[in-house]
């Protein structure tokens, strides 16, 4: 109780201080406005901070953040900006390293014109940058991180990529409804993600009358899975669920087929890449999986997005082009709804109330846990390529 009392006293002091600061800020703004005519439009510019790995081993991913955000800002500016103010991207390179992400966050936090942040890329970088961005009350949307606890730990943080609580149960539900499976085999990579998603898979399966007859794991970088797949085959499953990355997923698919395991293979989105089909060759045929974006899909939204990026950059869009673009649009949308760009706490909360927002490819909402709910595609490998799959019984 003492602790609580202390805390509330402290909060009181902070509040008092904030009021003073706000007052001063207000004065400053008034002063700024008086000079505004002379200072020109640039003082009014709203800044979207982008923290991305522009150099280093994840440079390709960082480039997508940059291009996606810049294209969104260009589109917004062409349509008259946000609340009549133009936007600008401030690009900061974190080289994919947490300590640089923290330094970038410091820089953005110090800039009063920043209204929101796109990035950082990895969960570790987010964890380093978030306390700083949170103190500056900056809404932050990572185009690529997908760890749900980032959102539970930080109230200014949002994700764009689907998180495990959302898609974890999806795959076993699909197995049950669409494929009529009762006996599941799970293959998982032994890392945080693999264990997390496999727990979600198994929990949903058990709660819904299915049995997990085999659950085998491997270490990232393993290339021989025949002993695992032999054990899986002995359990006679109805479906194999791949909680894997695409290289291993493809090799597992191939080796399972070579061992004569002919049951359907159902893969997480981490496998739905062209390389999966390339490596697994003919054994990939018929594999099923979900994905939030794949440039080759025959879908009007995807085609529109691909054409848009093709026109802007002369190359097809990749996943994080889309999530980065949508991230900027979601922040802009919240600011428009709030009606001013200064009330950062309200802006962050408003992002969390997003419902059925028309993203570049599909609809985006945030659920009660503030996690993204996105339109996903079901796909299957046909003729060596992932193509759209139309579920007959399964509904999202």
């Amino acid at each position: 109780m003492v602790g609580l009392k202390e805390a509330s006293e402290m909060r009181g002091t902070v509040m008092a201080r904030r009021t003073v600061v706000r007052g001063l800020l207000g004065l400053g703004v008034a002063f700024g406005c008086a000079l505004g005519g002379a200072a020109g439009a640039s003082a009014q510019e709203l800044v979207i901070g982008v923290i991305a790995p522009l150099t280093g081993s994840k440079a390709e991913q960082g480039m997508q953040f940059k291009e996606g955000a810049e294209l969104a800002v260009a589109d917004l500016n062409r349509a008259g900006g946000v609340l009549g103010r133009q936007l600008r991207v401030e690009l900061l390179d974190d080289e994919g390293q947490p300590k640089n992400a923290a330094a970038a966050a410091q820089k953005l936090a110090a800039n009063r014109n920043v209204i929101g942040v796109i990035g950082p890329s990895s969960t570790a970088s987010c964890r380093a940058a978030l306390p700083i961005l949170e103190r500056a009350r900056l809404v932050t949307i990572s185009p690529s991180a997908s760890t749900a606890s980032l959102v539970t730990d930080h109230k200014y943080m949002y994700l764009m990529s689907p998180a495990i609580p959302f898609y974890g149960p999806l795959v076993p539900r699909f197995a049950q409804v669409e494929l009529g499976a009762k006996r599941l085999a799970i293959v998982k990579v032994k890392d945080d993600w693999g264990l997390g998603v496999s727990k979600a898979t198994a929990d949903y399966a058990r709660a819904n009358g299915m049995t997990v007859v085999a659950e085998v794991e491997y270490a990232q970088g393993d290339r021989d899975f025949k002993s695992q797949m032999t054990a899986v085959k002995a359990q006679n499953p109805d479906v194999i669920i791949l909680n894997t990355h695409y290289t291993e997923g493809a090799i597992i698919t191939k080796q399972a087929r070579e061992l004569g395991l002919a049951v359907p293979i159902l893969a997480q989105g981490t496998n739905v890449y062209p390389q999966y089909a390339e490596i697994a060759g003919s054994t990939a045929e018929g594999a099923l999986g979900w994905v939030d974006f794949l440039a080759t899909l025959d879908d009007p939204g995807v085609k529109r997005a691909v054409a848009k990026f093709q026109a802007a950059y002369g190359k097809p869009a990749l996943n994080y082009h889309i999530t980065s673009y949508d991230g900027v649009m979601v922040i802009a949308d919240a600011i428009k709804k709030v009606g001013n760009a200064e009330d950062r706490e309200v802006i962050a909360r408003t992002v969390g109330q997003l419902k059925d927002f028309a993203g570049l490819v599909g609809k985006i909402s945030y659920d009660a846990e503030r996690l993204p709910v996105r339109d996903l595609f079901w796909t299957t490998v046909k003729g060596g390529k992932w193509v759209l799959y139309q579920p007959t019984k399964f509904k999202m």
């Binding site: 081993s57 032994k190 085998v216 794991e217 491997y218 270490a219 970088g221 290339r223 021989d224 025949k226 002993s227 695992q228 032999t230 054990a231 085959k233 002995a234 290289t247 493809a250 090799i251 191939k254 087929r257 070579e258 061992l259 004569g260 390389q275 390339e278 490596i279 697994a280 060759g281 003919s282 054994t283």
Partner: protein, 292 residues
Amino acid sequence: MLLQQAVNGLVLGSVYALIAVGFSLVFSVLEIINFSHGAMLMLGAYFGLVMIGALGWGFLPAVAASALLVAAAGAIVERATIAPLRRREAPRVLALISTIGASITLEAAAQLVWGAQVRGYPSPLPPGGFTLGAARVTYLECAIMGIAAVLMIGLGLFVRLSRTGRAIRAIAQNLSAARLMGIDVERTIVTVFAVGSAIGAVAGMLTGAYFSFAQPSMGFLPGIKGFVAAVLGGMGSVVGAGLGGLLLGVVESLGGGLLSFEYKDAIVFGVLILILIVRPSGILGYDTGEKV
């Protein structure tokens, strides 16, 4: 299931054996561990990929050409990174570190030329197979075991019967004495690197075809496994490398399947430690004592 795991293990084991023999040959003449051997595997796989993919060659001609190219690469690595140290009579550990450097350089070069991403690998045979009792064996697996067996036997005969083979064995017994007997030691050492690398290249292409991918870092893990197999069988012995490879593959496969996949590698290395406690020089290795 037991039979299937054993078959899986034999296939893996024959690839390990091919890799192990490269380590073993070099060790027998120079008493160093050639850590660039894994990179030779990778080079072999990529050269093969280029010949099959870009040039449209068949698998067997590609294997032969790739083996020749990698033999040259192996000889160059020896001349460039190990021979200068030997001439200056530098401690052996420096030569070992030099091979690590060569390995990293080759891997980086491959990444520069072919990119870091994983590439699919063509299979020389149609995907089918046949059933053997409770086990399924693919044609490719048969081919891998066949090629490995032919190469191992060929190499064993080469070391036992040919002039160069005799020179290799003489150097293995005593390098200085061999030189005094008029054996061209330098040429023999280069030959050993070339032959070991060529066999590594074949192992690389088989690994690529078996797992159906190529990647600049693909030689690293098989390299380690091959090295372990060589130690297990007894460094310096061709037959030992063969036995070590097969044993390692089967232990890994059965241990993983019967006990636990999580501890697959722990089981493998546990067995290695046990065998080395009982027989410090490996299954077929013989203790020649310190050379003075």
